[in-house]
């Protein structure tokens, strides 16, 4: 207000000076007339410069026209007319340049503020709210809103909802800006403008502003540019947030994998050491002491059993190594009769006598197109697991039945079962379900089973519930 009063006084001073301005040419006093005009132009832009220049010219005209009336268009009068024209030009030009510079400065500051508002990682709704708050403070408008498409719904800041037939919905659908000169209902026209937030030419949201008063084409173009910038800034923030989350997940996975491998090394060492200890112990006994034939035979059978266990463990390691390199296990496929294969695999475990093994396998089943050794390992792994995780003396059912050009095998126990949250991971290498207790194993068996079945073009599924046992079913193609 003080600025305006000072300008008004300055303009009146110009009027007074002008009334006392002589008829002689080149009055240095006239240079002073430019002072309030330039000050107003710099302070208030094109409007201030234009109005002040017009006011100073208006205040001079009575004296100038009177001078012309009295003496005609003398050089002195011409000079005063030229001074008036120069005042108008200076007021408008300086004012326009000042307005432009001010607008540019505001825009740059706004762009920086937008970047700052989105610099912190935050959920989309929070980021959109921050951005809207930043724009509301810095944009010279009455109301501003932001609508941004989220993964499953719209994030809205500055409004409650987006009506289907609203301006924002239209811009969001078409990706083209829209201007409404008056939304109606007010004493003054209320302009509304909605510009799309574009990313790669596609609208991801809308910047909507409303203002009572003017909204010139240049300002609307600037708003469109700002909206495009906001779109990119939001997308960058979204990508950065996603990248951070991905990096965190990756770090967690690496840590988990490292921990799993460490645990595996410990378990594998233990798994290898157990049969080796047995072999070492029996071989030392045989070397140092004399035994009768029956005792020697018994020790030899135990040593053979432990050696077979070692072979199985080493085979599992080799298969896993191939699996991790993205290679399928080597198979030598042929027609394998199902009943003898199942009987042979089960027989090894039947001799332990710890569980009752129930086999349901029709002799007439078609042969499967499989690697005999691989099938044997699959069955032994599954039957061994079933026995390991079910109480001694309980039943373990092994069955095979014909399916559509395939044979479906199943191994079922009545053991402790697997928790639901562990089911999706049971086929992962090194994974051991929680609650396995002191049961031996490196967490490789089911991973190897799955890789072998996949290599045959078959499928495997596992059903289990804590307390009611586990059933593993796998399908291998039959010989056509």
């Amino acid at each position: 207000m003080r600025d305006i009063v000072a300008l008004a006084v300055s303009v009146l001073a110009v009027g007074v000076l002008s009334s006392r301005d002589g008829v002689e040419a080149m009055s240095l006093l006239r240079y002073l007339y430019f002072v309030p005009v330039i000050v107003a132009a710099l302070r208030f832009g094109v409007f201030g410069g234009g109005v002040t220049a017009a006011a100073t010219v208006l205040l001079q005209t009575p004296w100038i026209f009177a001078a012309i009336e009295r003496g005609g268009l003398t050089p002195a009068a011409t000079e005063r007319v030229v001074t008036c024209i120069a005042l108008l030009l200076v007021g408008m030009l300086v004012g326009r340049l000042a307005s432009y510079a001010q607008a540019q400065r505001r825009r740059w500051r706004l762009l920086l503020a937008v970047q700052r508002a989105l610099s912190e990682d935050a959920p989309l709704e929070v980021a959109v709210g921050r951005l809207r708050a930043c724009l509301a403070v810095r944009l010279d408008v009455d109301d501003v809103a932001l609508v941004v498409r989220g993964d499953d719904r719209l994030a809205i800041a500055g409004g409650v909802c987006v009506a289907e037939d609203s301006l924002a919905a239209e811009v969001l659908a078409t990706g083209r800006p829209r201007y409404v000169p008056d939304v109606g209902g007010g004493a003054r026209p209320r302009r509304a403008y909605a510009a799309p937030l574009l990313v790669g030419g596609a609208p991801i949201g809308v910047l909507a502003v409303e203002r009572e008063g003017e909204m010139a084409a240049a300002e609307r173009a600037a708003l469109s540019t700002l909206a495009a910038h906001c779109g990119l800034a939001l997308e960058n923030a979204r990508l950065a947030s996603r990248q951070r989350r991905f990096a965190e997940e990756l770090a967690e996975r690496i840590a988990s994998a490292t921990a799993t491998k460490s645990a595996f090394v410990a378990v594998a060492s233990h798994e290898l050491r157990t049969p080796l200890t047995a072999l070492l112990g029996f071989s030392e006994l045989l070397a140092q002491r004399r035994f009768d034939a029956a005792e020697v035979r018994h020790m030899a059978e135990l040593m053979q059993h432990e050696t077979e266990r070692l072979v199985r463990i080493v085979d599992d390691f080799l298969d896993l190594s191939r699996l991790e390199r993205g290679l399928e296990p080597k198979l030598s496929r042929a027609a394998v009769k199902v009943a003898p294969a199942v009987a042979a695999a089960v027989e090894v475990f039947r001799r332990t006598g710890s569980h009752r093994l129930v086999v349901e396998c029709d002799e007439t089943l078609p042969a499967v197109d499989a690697d005999a050794d691989a099938l044997d390992r699959i069955l032994k792994n599954l039957v061994g697991n079933a026995m390991k995780y079910s109480p001694a003396g309980s039943d373990v059912h092994v069955a095979a039945r014909g399916a559509d050009r395939a044979v479906e095998f199943s191994v079922r126990d009545v053991g402790r079962g697997i928790p639901a949250e562990a089911l999706p991971r049971v086929f992962e290498p090194y994974y051991r379900a929680p609650g396995v207790g002191s049961a031996r194993g490196a967490g490789l068996g089911l991973a190897v089973v799955k890789s072998l079945i996949d290599a045959h073009g078959g499928s495997v599924r596992l059903e289990s519930a804590p307390g009611s046992g586990t059933r593993v079913t796998f399908v291998l193609p039959a010989v056509s």
Partner: protein
């Protein structure tokens, strides 16, 4: 927020929508008939002047009221437009009998004030609630422009002040009751207001100002001396631009009315015409 929650408008009504064509045509026909009769010598020039005032100002006010009602989505009382025209006509007719009868013209703004208080003229920028600061600002701007006119006319052209306050006031009554009220209601309240809700301020103000200048250039009551015409065009351009800005700034027609009344008071003080 409207942009998000309200349906986007389809096309707006045309610029000339809600014009009372029949009424305006009837007024024009009456004026033409009076002019014809005056040509035949059956009607005196003073009667023709009264008919012209009624037709011109009544017509402008009729259009303004109808456009304002449409823009403001308000309903005018039944017969409000005809009452307005009748009041202007009564004032103009009374002035034929006695110049002091022109005081009756003041019934027209009084009637419009009544409509304003009822909330029927919000579409013209005349609402029941008045913000006095813009009105004072308008009066000040009009007064400054009037003072400039007095200074400029006396300095440049040597015009003297009109003698007698009664004569000045009776002339000013015509401005208050008919001239200014019809011009502001139509050119600012109706035309500029309708245009600024479709176009930019600059475009709307340019069209409204051009229309205002045209209205005064064809006005047979304006003296036809070149210097007066040039001065009138200059001052009316500035006044119209100021009035447009006042309406745009304040949302009310009253500041513009105050500016115009003050300016025309200064104009009537000069012994022109």
């Amino acid at each position: 927020m409207w942009t998000l929650e309200r349906p986007a408008p389809s096309r707006r009504a045309g610029l000339l929508a809600n014009t009372p064509v029949a009424l305006v045509s009837a007024l024009g026909a009456g004026w033409a008939a009076a002019a014809g009769l005056a040509g035949l010598g059956w009607v005196t020039p003073s009667v023709l002047r009264a008919v012209a005032i009624t037709a011109a100002h009544g017509g402008l006010l009729a259009i303004a009221l109808e456009w304002g009602a449409a823009e403001g989505r308000t309903r005018l009382p039944r017969g409000a437009v005809l009452v307005t025209i009748a009041l202007i006509g009564a004032g103009a007719a009374a002035a034929v009998v006695d110049p002091r009868g022109s005081v009756l013209l003041l019934t027209a703004p009084a009637w419009l004030a009544l409509l304003t208080l009822r909330g029927s003229l919000t579409g013209l920028g005349l609402g029941p609630r008045v913000a006095w600061r813009p009105v004072l600002a308008g009066a000040a701007l009009g007064g400054l422009l009037g003072a400039h006119l007095l200074l400029s006319a006396s300095q440049t052209l040597g015009y003297a002040l009109r003698g007698g306050a009664t004569a000045v006031l009776l002339l000013w009554v015509y401005d208050v009751g008919a001239n200014v009220i019809s011009a502001e209601c139509f050119f600012r309240g109706a035309l500029f207001n309708r245009l600024q809700r479709r176009w930019s301020f600059a475009a709307a103000a340019t069209v409204a100002t051009t229309a205002t200048l045209f209205r005064y250039v064809v006005d047979p009551m304006l003296p036809k001396q070149v210097e007066v015409m040039a001065g009138a065009l200059f001052y009316l351009t500035v006044l119209s631009a100021v009035d447009c800005w006042l309406l745009w700034w304040s949302g009310s027609l009253l500041p513009g009315l105050a500016a115009s009344w003050m300016f025309f008071l200064a104009y009537r003080t000069l012994a022109i015409g």
